[in-house]
Structure formats: structure tokens, C-alpha cells
């Protein structure tokens, strides 16, 4: 089935055909038996799934919702806040992680010039050189 026929079939199932398109579609159905069978089959599938749609939760759903609102009126805000923190972490975490990796690489390449012999591995990798006000002004 080509895209145009597929699109028409979905439009027919949507009930969104214009009168001209409907005429064209009905002519297609009359002229192509396999297309007509496919349309009928999909229409049955739509009916079958619509009939199987769950239409309610267990009894007392509205009471449970109102109960939750009464007990924790800002529960949703907390959920949103947690989600916001997670989004912030995902967006911002790469920056300090990249800086840390670059610093570690730099320190590993240059070597522990400013550290004494007793420096730990963490200090060796992530230790910053001593920066004084004079040095900054010199820049």
C-alpha cells in the first residue's frame, strides 16, 4: 500500500475526510477489494481496542486523589523539584567533570612542581598551584 492510500485510510478512520476526499476514498474501496478488506480489518481493530479501553480505576479513585491532596498538598511540587534537580545535575555535571579531567591531565603532564614529596594521589592529580595576588596582578 503506498503512502497516499495509507494516509487516506487513516483519515477515513479519523473521520477527517473532506467530502471530495471521501468520494475518492469510496471509489478506491470499490475498485480495490484488498484495500477495502484492509480498511475493514483496521476498522474492526479500532473498535476492538476502543472497546477494551479501561475506563476507570478501582472504586473510590476521586476519594484517594482528594485524600492525597489533603495529606500532601505539595507532593507534586516535590516530585517536580526532584525532577528539576535531576535535570540540573544532568545538564551541569559535565562542566565540573570536564574541568576535573583537564586539571588531572595537566597535573599529570606537568608534574607535582608545587607539591612536596608527601602529597597524596588526589593532591597530585587535582591540586591547584598556589596562586597569589601578585601572580594575578602580574597576569
Amino acid at each position: 500500500m503506498n503512502d497516499h492510500r495509507r494516509y487516506r485510510l487513516e483519515q477515513a478512520l479519523d473521520d477527517s475526510l473532506t467530502p471530495d476526499e471521501r468520494d475518492e476514498f469510496e471509489a478506491l474501496l470499490r475498485s480495490d477489494a484488498s484495500y477495502a478488506r484492509q480498511f475493514e480489518r483496521e476498522r474492526r481493530m479500532h473498535r476492538m481496542t476502543a472497546d477494551a479501553a479501561p475506563r476507570a480505576f478501582d472504586a473510590g479513585f476521586a476519594d484517594r486523589v482528594m485524600g492525597r491532596l489533603r495529606e500532601a498538598p505539595n507532593a507534586a511540587l516535590r516530585v517536580d523539584f526532584d525532577a528539576m534537580l535531576m535535570r540540573l545535575w544532568r545538564r551541569l555535571a559535565p562542566v565540573p567533570l570536564t574541568v576535573a579531567v583537564v586539571l588531572a591531565g595537566y597535573n599529570a603532564y606537568v608534574g607535582p612542581r608545587h607539591l612536596g614529596a608527601g602529597a597524596s594521589l588526589v593532591e597530585l592529580l587535582f591540586g591547584l598551584p598556589p596562586v597569589t595576588l601578585d601572580m594575578l596582578l602580574g597576569l
Binding site: M48, F61, P73
Partner: protein
């Protein structure tokens, strides 16, 4: 933020509904009443849109206590966001979008926690206790169960489209709008999903065809 003065259900049932929260009130009237702090108006909204949220959430997650929780969460998100609802979409579309987002969040949590076994338990248990009306005969119940199971077999992005288009009855354009994806994407996903569903439901579709 608006403040909801939630009264107990017994006091609610004793008092007469005002025009702003009666079941006959329009969505806009109910929203205005909720923003004025009227809890019965929100209860009416919950009751009005329970079918929408139920078919979306249960369609996405399968039945069980998990779906009920997510349904409640969706309603609470609706309550929290009513102030931002400007009527740019109709409320049904807005509620569906909230329910879809809550379901997607729940699916992510479920995947993170690898709760597949637990959800299957829920599913198997719930198959014996269908939510639909009790008048249905065994064959209809069996068919509905099979259809729901078939929908749950679909990949998430196919299931999303099927739930909105085929369970909820939104048009393909509305579905694209709710999911914020291209209309063509909806059509192609729907096509593939129907192919899979057609295979899974073949016995029933063939039986209908021959009858």
C-alpha cells in the same frame, strides 16, 4: 498559588453543590471554582476525567496499584498546573498530556528499578479482576484482556500512539500534538503498531471477518 480547602467526603456529600462545582458545570467554570479554593469542583473534575486518565495510564502501564498511583499523581499534577492552563488546548487534551507524561515518568522509574517481574505479577493478577462492567460475558472479557495484553506487548513509542489514537480516540493530528511529534511520525508508528497488533489479534480479527 491557589489553596485548596479539602473537606472530608462526608461533608462534601451532605452539602449541596454550587453552580461552580455541579456535575453540569463546564470545565471553565470548574477550573475557576478550583482556583477559588473549591475542593468539590476539583473532585468533579477528577470524576469527569477519570476515564481519560484511566485509559491512558492503564493502557500504558497495565492495571494494578502502580497504575492507580500514577493516575492519582496525574490528577495532582493537574491540580498543581491548573493556574497555568490557559485554555490553549481543550482540557481533555491537557489532561491526556499530563497522564502521558506521568506514565512515561513511571515507565522510566520502572525500568530503572527493573521492576519487570513485579509488574508482570500485577498484570497476571489483574487479568482475573477486570475493571470493566460485570455484565460482560466471558468471551468479551477474554477478548478485552487479550487486546490489553497485546497493547502492552508493543514498544513504548508504539504503545503511546496506540493508547492515544485507538484507546482514547484522539485523531492522528491530536495525537501528534499531544506527543509533540510530527504527524507523519504518528502515522508511521501507528502503521507499524497496527501490523504488530494485527498479528497478535489475528484469531479475533479473522473470526470477525469470517462471521
Amino acid at each position: 498559588m491557589h489553596t485548596l480547602v479539602v473537606t472530608s467526603s462526608s461533608s462534601t456529600s451532605r452539602s449541596r453543590p454550587s453552580p461552580g462545582d455541579s456535575p453540569a458545570a463546564s470545565d471553565d467554570e470548574l477550573i475557576d471554582a478550583v482556583l477559588d479554593g473549591n475542593d468539590r469542583a476539583f473532585r468533579t473534575l477528577v470524576q469527569r476525567y477519570e476515564p481519560v486518565v484511566a485509559s491512558t495510564v492503564i493502557g500504558m502501564l497495565g492495571p494494578g496499584p502502580g497504575a492507580d498511583d500514577v493516575g492519582q499523581e496525574a490528577m495532582i499534577r493537574l491540580y498543581e498546573s491548573l493556574e497555568q492552563f490557559r485554555g490553549e488546548a481543550n482540557l481533555k487534551t491537557y489532561v491526556t498530556r499530563i497522564a502521558i507524561n506521568a506514565s512515561i515518568d513511571a515507565l522510566r522509574r520502572r525500568k530503572r528499578r527493573t521492576e519487570r517481574l513485579a509488574s508482570r505479577d500485577d498484570e497476571e493478577r489483574s487479568l482475573d479482576e477486570p475493571v470493566v462492567d460485570e455484565r460482560s460475558n466471558a468471551e468479551v472479557r477474554e477478548r478485552r484482556t487479550l487486546v490489553r495484553r497485546a497493547i502492552r506487548e508493543l514498544d513504548d513509542h508504539y504503545r503511546l500512539v496506540v493508547v492515544l489514537r485507538m484507546l482514547e480516540g484522539h485523531s492522528t493530528k491530536e495525537t501528534a500534538n499531544i506527543l509533540d511529534i510530527a504527524h507523519g511520525t504518528v502515522l508511521s508508528r501507528l502503521h507499524r503498531a497496527k501490523q504488530q497488533l494485527g498479528d497478535l489479534l489475528r484469531p479475533y480479527l479473522d473470526a470477525d471477518e469470517s462471521s
